[in-house]
Amino acid sequence: AQTVTQSQPEMSVQEAETVTLSCTYDTSESDYYLFWYKQPPSRQMILVIRQEAYKQQNATENRFSVNFQKAAKSFSLKISDSQLGDAAMYFCAYRTGTGANSKLTFGKGITLSVRP
C-alpha cells in the first residue's frame, strides 16, 4: 500500500518570504500522480498543484512550485512571496496512475502560519 508522510506538523513564514513544505511517499508503482491541497478554516480542500510522475519537469503554478525527486520519493512544495491568505493546512496526496478513478491517499498535513 502507498503511504504519504509529512513529518513537519507546523511551519511559520514571514509575509513576502519563501517557505518549503516537505513530503515523502512510498510506492512500488512507476505511474502515479502527486498533489498538494490547501485546506483553510472553511474546511474545503483546494487543489494547489499537481505533478505527473512521468514528467521530469517540476510543476509550477504562479507562486507555487514543487521539487519532485522521483528516485528519492520526495515531493516538496515551495511557496514564494508568501501572503497572509496562504495560511492554512497543506496536504500532500498520492494517486495511482493505473486504473480509472483510483482514490487519493493523503498525508497528515502541515499547518502553515504567515506572520505579517
Partner: protein
C-alpha cells in the same frame, strides 16, 4: 451545481443514534468519493462510486457505515448506532470519469459535514 454541496454543515447527535450525511456533486461528475477527516489528521478514504455502483468500499471501517448513490448523482452516507469515535469531518469529492489508466482528473471537494457524537 457550481460546486460540491454537502449537508448538513454541522450535525450533533447522541451516541447510538442514526445519521445521514448528504453530498450533491458537480453536475456531470460521474465519480464520487467519501473521506473522513479526524481532528488534526489528513482525510482517510471511505468509499468511491462510479455512477450508481460502489467501485471501491475498502475504506468503510465497519458495517455501521453504508453509502448509496441510487441515481448516480446525489449520495448519502449513512451511519448506524453512532459512537463517539465517529466524530469527524466527512468530506465528499467528485470528478469526471478518468480515461482508463490515468489518474489525471482532479477531485473537487465540498466543505464537509462536521459530525459530533456526544
Amino acid at each position: 451545481g457550481a460546486g460540491v454541496s454537502q449537508t448538513p454543515s454541522n450535525k450533533v447527535t447522541e451516541k447510538g443514534k442514526y445519521v445521514e450525511l448528504r453530498c450533491d456533486p458537480i453536475s456531470g461528475h460521474t465519480a464520487l468519493y467519501w473521506y473522513r477527516q479526524s481532528l488534526g489528521q489528513g482525510p482517510e478514504f471511505l468509499i468511491y462510486f462510479q455512477g450508481t455502483g460502489a467501485a471501491d468500499d475498502s475504506g468503510l471501517p465497519n458495517d455501521r457505515f453504508f453509502a448509496v448513490r441510487p441515481e448516480g448523482s446525489v449520495s448519502t452516507l449513512k451511519i448506524q448506532r453512532t459512537e463517539r469515535g465517529d466524530s469527524a469531518v466527512y468530506l465528499c469529492a467528485s470528478s469526471l470519469r478518468d480515461r482508463v489508466f490515468s489518474g489525471a482528473n482532479v477531485l473537487t471537494f465540498g466543505a464537509g459535514s462536521r459530525l459530533t457524537v456526544l
